[in-house]
C-alpha cells in the first residue's frame, strides 16, 4: 500500500464527514444543535438515489438530495424556532423519522426493504478506488472547497457575522435589528444542503441506496464539529484525522493488530476528552439549543 493510495482512501472516507461537519458548524454557530446531521445525510442519500434513478443523471440526484436535505432541515428549524420545541428531542426524532421514512418509501418505490436498484453516479462505472476516480467526482471538490468557503462566510461576510451573533447572544442581535429566526432558518437550510451532499456522495459513489447506509456518520461529523471547536478548518482537520484512523484500521484488518471496534471508538472518545477540557476546553456557542422569544 503506497502513501498515495492511503491518502486517497483517507480522502474518500473523509468526504461525507467533511460535508456534514461543515454543515454542522454553520447550524451550531447559529444556535441550532446539529443532532439531525445523521438524518439529513440519510435523507440526502435516499433522495439523491431516487432522483438519480428517475432523472438518469447524478446531477439530478444531487439536486434531489439538496431538496431532501433542505426539507428536513427546515422541518427541524420550524419546530425548534416557530414552536420552540426542545432541539435535542426533535433532533433525535428527525433521525428516527428518516430511518423509517426511507425504509417505507424504499419498499413503495423499489419493492425492496434493503436497497435500491443501481443508479447513475459520477464518472465511469467501476472506475476503481484510485486517485483518478476521486478527482473525477465533483462532490470531492465541493467538499474540499466547502471548508474555506464556509470559513469565509462565517468570518468575513455580514451573513456570517449575523449567524455568530444569533448563536452567541440572540437578544443582543435582536436589539440591533437582526431577525434571529430568519438567520437561523437560513443557517439550518445551508447545513441541510451540505449534509445531504455528504449522504448523496455515499449513495452515488456506491451507485445505490441501502437502508441506514450512513451508519452513524452524521454523529462522527457532530463529534468532529465539537472536537474542532465549532471552527470549519479545525472541524475539517478532525474529519481527516478520524478518516485516517479508519483507513489505517482497514489496512490493519488482515493483521488483527487493533480490533476494529477500538478504532470505531476514537472519534467519540476524543470528543468526550475535548468536552472534559483535558486538552483545552471546548466551549459551545453561548445560545446553543436556546429558543428565542
Amino acid at each position: 500500500m503506497t502513501a498515495l493510495a492511503f491518502a486517497a482512501q483517507t480522502l474518500r472516507i473523509a468526504i461525507p464527514y467533511l460535508l456534514a461537519a461543515v454543515g454542522g458548524v454553520i447550524s451550531e454557530r447559529s444556535g441550532l444543535i446539529a443532532l439531525g446531521l445523521e438524518g439529513y445525510m440519510l435523507g440526502g442519500a435516499f433522495c439523491g438515489a431516487v432522483a438519480s434513478f428517475y432523472g438518469g443523471s447524478a446531477w439530478i440526484g444531487l439536486a434531489g438530495a439538496a431538496v431532501g436535505g433542505v426539507a428536513l432541515a427546515l422541518l427541524y428549524a420550524a419546530t425548534a424556532i416557530r414552536f420552540r420545541a426542545d432541539q435535542v428531542v426533535v433532533g433525535i426524532a428527525i433521525n428516527l423519522l428518516v430511518i423509517g421514512t426511507t425504509r417505507f418509501f424504499l419498499r413503495l418505490a423499489f419493492h425492496s426493504s434493503a436497497n435500491s436498484p443501481r443508479v447513475p453516479g459520477f464518472g465511469a462505472e467501476r472506475s476503481g478506488t484510485g486517485v483518478l476516480s476521486l478527482a473525477g467526482n465533483p462532490l470531492v471538490w465541493v467538499a474540499i472547497a466547502s471548508v474555506p468557503i464556509v470559513a469565509w462566510l462565517l468570518y468575513r461576510t455580514p451573513f456570517g457575522l449575523r449567524v455568530r451573533a444569533v448563536g452567541e447572544h440572540p437578544d443582543a442581535a435582536t436589539s440591533v435589528g437582526i431577525r434571529v429566526p430568519r438567520v437561523r432558518y437560513r443557517a439550518a437550510a445551508l447545513s441541510g444542503v451540505l449534509a445531504s451532499f455528504g449522504g448523496a456522495y455515499l449513495a452515488l459513489d456506491q451507485h445505490q441506496f441501502s437502508a441506514e447506509m450512513t451508519a452513524g456518520r452524521g454523529f462522527i461529523a457532530l463529534a468532529a464539529v465539537i472536537f474542532g471547536r465549532w471552527d470549519p478548518f479545525r472541524a475539517a482537520l478532525a474529519c481527516v484525522f478520524f478518516a485516517a484512523a479508519e483507513s489505517l484500521q482497514i489496512q490493519l484488518q488482515g493483521s488483527q493488530a487493533i480490533p476494529s471496534q477500538f478504532v470505531e471508538m476514537i472519534p467519540y472518545a476524543l470528543t468526550i476528552v475535548a468536552l472534559a477540557g483535558v486538552v483545552g476546553r471546548a466551549v459551545p456557542p453561548a445560545a446553543l439549543g436556546r429558543p428565542v422569544e
Binding site: 426533535v90 426524532a93 423509517g100 471508538m265 467519540y268 468536552l275
Partner: protein, 346 residues
C-alpha cells in the same frame, strides 16, 4: 394547579394522536390500502388476542425501564440520551453473572443478584456522564451520545472476541435461575415473550415515583432540575445531584436489560437493545416524566411497535417507525405552545 398539570399532559398527546392519524392515513393510502382495514388489523394483532397482548406487555416492560431512566434524568434537568447503551450494558453484566453462577440456585437467590448486576452495569455507564458534567461541565447530551457508540463497540468487541457461541452473535445459554414467562401462569400467553420482569418494571415505577415525590433526595433532584442556581443557594449540592441522578437513570435502564437477557432469550446478544433506549426518550416525553405517564406511554409505544408487525403483510412495518417519530415531534412541538396557552387562559 393539579387541573392545569392534567391539561398540560393531555393536550399535547391529543395533538400528537391527530397528527399521527393524518400521517398514518397518508402513508397507508400511498400504499394503496384502506386505512380502516389497516387500523383494525393493528388493534386485532395487539390487544385483540392473548399472544399479541403478551408481546405488547413484553415490549412495554423494556420501554418502561428506559422511559423511567430518561424521566429521572429530565426531572434533574439532564438529558440522558445514553439509555440505549446503558440497557445493553445492564443486560451484558447480568449475562456475565448468569454464566458464572451454578445452575442449581433458586430464583429467590439469583433474581436479586441479577437485578444488582444489571443495575451496576447500566449505572456504571450512566454515572460517567454525571461525573463529567459535575466535574468538568461537559454537556451530558453529547457525552451520552458519544458513550453510546463507545460502550456498544466495547460490548460488541467483548462478545465477538471472548463470549460468543461460534457462528452466532450471542453468548452461551444461561441456566442459573432463568425467569419464568407469563405463559407458565396464564396459558393463552403461549409463545409470547412476556415474563416476570414485568413485575420488576411495575415495582420500579412505584419506587421511582416514591423516590421522586416522597423523599428528600428526590426533592433535591427535582429542585436541581427546575432551578439549579436556586437549589444550590438552598443548600443542595447540584453536582452531586447530577451524578446521582444519572447513576440512578443508568441503573434503571440497565435493569431493563433483564427483560431480554433473562426473561426472553436467556443469553446476551449483540444489539439486542435495538432502539428501545432511544424510544425511552419518546416514552418519557409523552409520559411527561411522571412514572404513571411513563407506564401508559410505554404501553402505547409498545402497541404501535407490535402493531407494525401485525400489519406488515399489508403495509410495510416501517410505517410505525415513521409514526413514532411523528408523535415525538408533534408532542415536542406542541408542549411549549400548550403551556403558554394555559398560562394566558388563567
Amino acid at each position: 394547579m393539579r387541573r392545569r398539570a392534567a391539561d398540560e399532559a393531555i393536550f399535547p398527546a391529543v395533538v400528537a394522536l391527530l397528527v399521527a392519524a393524518i400521517v398514518g392515513d397518508a402513508l397507508i393510502l400511498s400504499f394503496g390500502q384502506n386505512p380502516g382495514t389497516v387500523y383494525r388489523l393493528l388493534i386485532e394483532g395487539t390487544w385483540g388476542n392473548a399472544y399479541g397482548l403478551g408481546q405488547v406487555l413484553y415490549k412495554a416492560t423494556t420501554l418502561t425501564f428506559t422511559g423511567l431512566a430518561v424521566a429521572v434524568g429530565l426531572r434533574a434537568g439532564l438529558f440522558n440520551i445514553g439509555a440505549e447503551s446503558q440497557l445493553a450494558a445492564g443486560g451484558f453484566v447480568a449475562a456475565l453473572v448468569g454464566l458464572v453462577l451454578p445452575s442449581g440456585l433458586p430464583a429467590l437467590v439469583t433474581l436479586p443478584l441479577y437485578v444488582l448486576a444489571a443495575a451496576a452495569g447500566g449505572g456504571a455507564v450512566g454515572v460517567l456522564p454525571g461525573v463529567l458534567k459535575a466535574k468538568f461541565g461537559a454537556h451530558e447530551v453529547i457525552t451520552t451520545i458519544m458513550l453510546n457508540f463507545i460502550v456498544l463497540a466495547l460490548l460488541n468487541y467483548l462478545t465477538a472476541a471472548h463470549l460468543k457461541v461460534p457462528g452466532s452473535l450471542h453468548t452461551a445459554e444461561i441456566h442459573a435461575g432463568a425467569l419464568p414467562r407469563l405463559s407458565a401462569m396464564f396459558a393463552p400467553f403461549h409463545g409470547s415473550a412476556a415474563n416476570v420482569v414485568i413485575v420488576i418494571a411495575a415495582a420500579a415505577s412505584v419506587l421511582t415515583g416514591w423516590f421522586l415525590f416522597r423523599t428528600r433526595r428526590g426533592f433535591e433532584l427535582r429542585a436541581a432540575g427546575l432551578q439549579p442556581e436556586a437549589a444550590e443557594y438552598g443548600g443542595v449540592n447540584v453536582g452531586g445531584v447530577w451524578t446521582r441522578a444519572l447513576l440512578l437513570s443508568g441503573a434503571l435502564a440497565g435493569i431493563g436489560g433483564l427483560n431480554f437477557v433473562l426473561g426472553y432469550k436467556h443469553y446476551y446478544e449483540e444489539a439486542f437493545a435495538s432502539g428501545a433506549g432511544f424510544l425511552g426518550i419518546a416514552v418519557a416525553i409523552v409520559g411527561r416524566n411522571h412514572p404513571l405517564g411513563v407506564v401508559l406511554a410505554a404501553l402505547a409505544f409498545a402497541t404501535i411497535s407490535q402493531g407494525g408487525l401485525a400489519v406488515n403483510a399489508v403495509v410495510p412495518k416501517q410505517m410505525v417507525d415513521v409514526l413514532q417519530a411523528v408523535v415525538i415531534i408533534a408532542v415536542a412541538a406542541s408542549v411549549p405552545g400548550v403551556r403558554r396557552m394555559l398560562r394566558t387562559a388563567r
